[in-house]
Subunit: 195 residues, 2 copies
DNA sequence: CACTATAGTGAACTATGATTCCGCTTGTCA
DNA sequence: TGACAAGCGGAATCATAGTTCACTATAGTG
């Protein structure tokens, strides 16, 4: 979760130092608070956790949903970074994909509450991260292509299939903590494997 | 969705005719309204759709969540009924399971909004349907056992695996209508099949 | 037919939590 | 170091629904 947030675009004036610091801090707190409290997390909680006033949160993110959306964007960026790393490495292509997926699932599990919060937030939070999502899909497609040539992945798998399956896995994590997501993950990986 | 609702338990006095009629009508309206509007659906909407006052809805269901929970209970009962039917039929056991799953998925898709509403409602709605869920799991386990003996199902599949996968499928339907749930379903079925 | 227990009605009440706003503080820059 | 734009704080505001309740209507019964 080290991906840098680009400075508040708009007219793109450089943020004051304290503002930049707070921006980061708020995002980090949002991550923690939403992960822990899920949909019940309130902006006030995020503000308190970050040690700033609510007003400050609102200066940086116009709505709660925007804050959530930024969290999603960051996560997609992280996943895309990891996918690019995998693309750079060499090794058995399917194994790379599997490793990637397992790692991402573990990340998602560690803050399942965010997924849960997202579910309540409505789909706009997702669509606001469209670009990052597409980027991830593009990189994933390359990885798939490579595995397909190696013949180690189920030949008809598309990048969106993986997205869909992971989406199912993650929302289940959030909504039903009683389920064993590792088992679910194993099943997902098996369906992707050739043969 | 023809499963009968048992009369309001408590001291179990027989409901007045109009009350019974309204109970049914409210449930039916709730199904329609939640399916359409998802988490945005309000009790007032349900009441209006059913042609009754809000107070009447509250006479029958103490909270919004209780109403949602009853919807879930009904759905599980329906699925369990179907599973029992499948158990009674004879034919290739895995094919029976596949048919069942496909049918249930189609049902779920037809009111994906309910799944979505549920996601926002919190997990209590699920735990309130625990009994019905367990019943479904039990019948499913029998179907699986049969398929396992026939060697046509992936040998290590448990009933909860199917529940988990379907849960993932259904929540994805609700949260991401842009995804192709039929494809998702095909993948799920493939992972269950003996490989 | 009364009579009454049961049920229905919907305006009013509340709780919750997001968002605003304005006076105060603090980086930044000359 | 002073000026001031950028940023901050957090009490107050507002909106949205869920829920209640005092009153009215009506099945069911003798």
């Amino acid at each position: 979760m080290t991906t840098k947030t680009p400075p508040l675009s708009e007219t793109d004036r450089p943020l004051r130092a304290d503002a930049r610091r707070n921006h980061e801090r708020i995002l980090e707190s949002a991550r923690v608070v939403f992960a822990q409290a899920g949909p019940d997390a309130q902006i006030d909680d995020v503000a308190r956790h970050a040690g700033v006033g609510v007003g400050t949160v609102y200066r940086h993110f116009p709505t709660k949903e925007a804050l959530l959306a930024e969290l999603v964007r960051q996560k997609f960026r992280l996943f895309a970074d990891r996918a690019r790393d995998a693309l750079a490495k060499d090794g058995e292509p399917f194994a790379l994909i599997e490793g990637l997926i397992r790692r991402n699932a573990a990340t998602a599990a560690s803050d399942a509450g965010i997924q849960y919060a997202l579910a309540s937030a409505g789909e706009q939070a997702w669509t606001q991260a469209q670009a990052e999502q597409d980027e991830l899909l593009a990189v994933t497609a390359e990885l798939i292509e490579r595995a397909r040539r190696a013949g180690t992945i189920r030949p008809d798998v598309e990048a969106t299939d993986i997205g869909m399956l992971m989406c199912g896995l993650c929302s289940t994590m959030g909504a039903r903590p009683d389920f064993d997501w590792r088992r679910h993950l194993d099943l997902v990986i098996d369906v992707l494997r050739a043969g």
